[in-house]
Amino acid sequence: MLLVLSEEHKEHLAFLPKVDAAVVAEFGRIALEFLRRGSSPKIYEGAARKLCVSVEMVQHGVEGLMFLMTESSKHMISEVDFLDSVLVLGFGDELNQILLQLYEQHRSQIRSILSQLPSNVPAYHNLEWRLDVQLASRSLRQQIVPMLTLRLLLTRGCDSHSDQISRVFQTDPRTLQHLISTLEVALATMKTSHARRILRNIK
């Protein structure tokens, strides 16, 4: 499929042919760092000073490049389609080849960054538990009440260091049995013929 670039996008990218190849490669690197870690105005200012252009032009050029890369990676565009889409911009052959190189080198990295972006539902990280017996309380002595205390650790986000959520709760043995049997039923549904048929067809 071909990428359709908006007029504004084309304008921003029009900056690129005015600088030499090494600078374009450098911009490509800055664009990828932007994806990974966000941009910093200092980088743009430094580049603008060296090239004697306004900071805005540099920023638009880098952002335009980054958007081109992410859109291409998102749709997994083939080489031919990428070159055709870039043809619209009217750049020279050499520049097109540089852009293509940049795309191919970093495509899988960009895709893995993009896949981590929607972090919606918290995911299981760890479960700690403790089995206690309550013997007495302020209101009643001589009791025997077994209790399981659980702490469920969840993470929201890609790696295990971002945003830990912890939930503490208690159950008695009967509820625990029910919990276990419900989870075993859930696990067993993976082995039904219906689920297996679907899994086979996904591959």
């Binding site: 700690e128 538990w129 403790r130 013997l135 007495a136 302020r138 002595r141 205390t149 702490r151 912890s166 939930r167 503490v168």
Partner: protein
Amino acid sequence: MRFRFCGDLDCPDWVLAEISTLAKLSSVKMKLLCAQVLKDLLGEGIDYDKIAKLTADAKFESGDIKASVAVLSFIFSSAAKHDVDSESLSSELQQLGLPKEHTTGLCRSYEDKHSALQDKLRETSLRLGRLEAVSWRVDYTLSSSELREVNEPTIQLKLQVQGAESGSTETAVFSVSADKFRVLLAELKQAQALMNALQ
């Protein structure tokens, strides 16, 4: 096959696979590696450079090094968790294919640190809202805006608690009148007597 050191469950596949990696080390290096892993489990920190030097002869890559540390950590902590004695551990590991000299070295290290490991695991067990500090102060109220002569003692208590859900320190400050405090103290003494009866 059920193994005691896995809690009477099957041995995980990755443990089986990495035991063959461990067998590539010489038994002397294996014992030194066990000592390093035990240090880590007891919270004394781990020295990756030493481990890298130990495994350099067997030409372990970084993946192999991490795997062997992981499998030794699993074996030690799981055996301590299920209170397995070292003879059973030795026979089970040999059943899984770990050579005899390696097993002997491992089990000797395990036996030495068995109770220390269990103490450390007991410490790290789940505990909610630990009490960290208690401070108190006794005041004597002379008078107030409501009543000219009050003449009553009160106690101010500050409890620092590790929050159950958040894990960070929370502070509770409150004042207790003399009567209420007597009730509180009596109840807590009864709870203490119950706890001592169980020790």
